[in-house]
């Protein structure tokens, strides 16, 4: 008889097990890596690693003229292209003290709201898909196509428009602009309840989102969270209300606020924003003046007077800040982009710690991160 062999396996009390989620994980919606430390299935802590598509847009801007910069801002948050264009345009106009025609203000706000709906639709598709409901993707994209058609008709492109430029718009909108938006609202009012039937009321969906990743109002303010994610926690941060710009001061609308701040309420905040955006669109369309002026008189070479200018704009994901330091040349001395997703990302550790790894996908989906906007 041979001697009995003993295998000793030492079980560590608290083994640290680290996995990488991303950079090519489908539910990070882009190249973002989460370093997740797990204990069993529970997340102990999470470290986001970004910079995989850092393109140095701020550096590039320092050697480009203001009309050229517009084309780079599309590429930040590509789902809020109009708002990004508008932010830089408004900042340049503020510096030059230019008043754009009333009609342009209305068109800009209309395009922003359409863009907001399109962005929330895509978020809804992806959020449903992250949680296992693949059908959502087809419903959402079917309706988003209608908005992209309106963009194509008026702006010439579907995703990266570069349509809003300093001084006004690139060119006039299509004569059918108002009618096609009215048709879309009529269509989408019928379709949006389908979203609720399909996903909102679903028991599995509710169980996977309610009371999950709760963010208090204090946390939201402290971490600089903005957009629907913060408004679900009761932080009234809508720049359209706080520092109104374009045509928003002319109309009356509701700021969607929830108080609980869990994943489900972040979901609800965005769903309600789609409804509210349609109301805003109708009000803007009713008030929009007729005519064909689409730009203010601009000099061929734009040179900003020496100084510092800041413009805040509400994109689909939160507050975009453009900070231009000018030394009087045709290129900015320094251009800082305060992007909403950059701030929104870093609350992930606080929200996910203590939850299961499957919930991580739900929580990151509810923050609606767009990675190019983080990395710039």
């Amino acid at each position: 008889m041979s001697e009995e062999k003993k295998v000793i396996v030492e079980l560590d009390e608290n083994p640290e097990y680290i996995i990488n989620m991303g950079p090519q994980h489908p539910s990070t919606h882009g190249v973002l890596r989460f370093e997740v430390s797990l204990q069993g299935e529970t997340v102990k802590y999470l470290i986001p690693h970004c910079g995989y598509i850092h393109r140095g847009i701020e550096k590039m801007c320092e050697s480009l003229t203001y009309p050229q910069i517009i084309h780079l801002t599309d590429r930040l948050d590509y789902l809020s292209a109009h708002m990004n264009n508008e932010a830089v345009s408004l900042c340049v106009e503020k510096a030059l003290d230019i008043e754009v025609p009333e009609r342009v203000k209305y068109i800009r706000s209309i395009l922003s709201e359409l863009n907001r709906i399109a962005s929330h639709q895509l978020w809804w598709c992806a959020f449903g898909m992250d949680l296992g409901g693949l059908t959502c993707f087809f419903y959402g994209l079917r309706d988003r196509e209608k908005i992209l058609d309106i963009f194509e008709e008026s702006c010439g492109s579907r995703l990266l428009h570069s349509f809003v430029v300093p001084g006004g718009l690139m060119h006039d909108v299509h004569p059918n602009f108002k009618q096609s938006i009215r048709d879309f609202i009529k269509y989408f009012r019928k379709k949006l309840p389908e979203y609720d039937t399909l996903l909102t009321g679903n028991v599995i969906f509710q169980n996977r989102t309610r009371d999950l990743g709760i963010m208090s109002k204090e946390t939201a303010i402290n971490y600089g969270i903005t957009g629907p994610s913060a408004r679900a926690s009761g932080f009234a941060c809508d720049i359209r209300k706080v520092e109104p710009y374009s045509a928003y001061p002319y109309i009356d609308f509701k700021e969607i606020l929830y108080t609980k701040g869990d994943t489900f309420h972040r979901y609800k905040a965005r769903m309600d924003e789609m409804w509210e955006s349609m109301v805003i669109l109708e009000k803007l369309l009713d008030k929009m003046p007729d005519g064909n002026d689409y730009t203010a008189k601009m000099k061929p070479v734009i040179k900003l007077p020496e100084g510092e200018y800041f413009q805040r704009v509400e994109t689909a994901r939160g507050e975009l800040g453009v900070y231009i330091v000018s030394d009087g040349n045709k290129t900015p001395y320094r251009l800082k982009l305060r992007t909403p997703n950059f701030s929104n990302l870093f609350v992930m550790n606080k929200l996910t710690a203590g939850y299961k790894i499957a919930d991580l996908v739900a929580i990151s989906g509810s923050l609606d991160l767009v990675i190019p906007d983080i990395d710039r």
């Binding site: 970004c50 910079g51 850092h54 140095g56 701020e58 550096k59 050697s63 503020k94 946390t219 303010i221 402290n222 971490y223 600089g224 903005t226 932080f235 009234a236 941060c237 706080v242 100084g307 510092e308 200018y309 800041f310 805040r312 507050e319 800040g321 900070y323 330091v325 001395y333 320094r334 800082k336 305060r338 950059f342 701030s343 870093f346 990395d375 710039r376």
Partner: protein
């Protein structure tokens, strides 16, 4: 609160503050060694309550850097801009505000990554976008990268 009122309050809180004229916000230049205590008072004073840091940026002024803090109050809605000048550009140092605003931790990492401004007491001062082995700080005006940046 109007800019004039705000200015009076700040003169009372920090007599050595310098002011700059700006149409939009009140610009205050704060000495680096007073920054942390001053911002804590700004956040905790009852009628100021600057609790939301919405932008933190670095600017390279050739001989020195400035760090620009945009603060606003979520309750009252008034805003202020704080500017801190660094001492030269060899070893730029500014105190970290991570314990006052959680978001500052990550914006400071960005300023460190792209400008090389060192934030003292920062818990985790690493590069955020570029890889750790990257040489130089790209947003500095004297940064040269012949391979990747085309000079015009």
């Amino acid at each position: 609160m109007e800019q004039e009122q705000l200015k009076e309050k700040i003169v009372a809180l920090l007599p050595e503050a310098e002011f700059m004229t700006n149409k939009q916000y009140l610009d205050v230049i704060v000495p680096a060694n007073k920054l942390h205590a001053f911002v804590t008072t700004l956040k905790e004073t009852n009628d100021l309550k600057f609790d939301y840091l919405f932008c933190l940026s670095g600017v390279d002024w050739q001989t020195y850097f400035t760090v620009v803090y945009h603060l606003t109050s979520s309750e009252f809605g008034h805003s202020i801009v704080l500017k801190v000048k660094t001492d030269g550009r060899e070893t730029p140092e500014v105190p970290s505000l991570y314990d006052i605003y959680a978001t500052a931790e990550f914006h400071e990492r960005e300023a460190f990554d792209l400008f090389g401004i060192k934030f003292t007491n920062h818990p985790d001062l690493r590069r955020i976008f570029l890889e750790d082995t990257w040489v130089g700080y790209p947003l500095r005006k004297d940064y040269k990268d012949e391979i990747n940046i085309i000079e015009r």
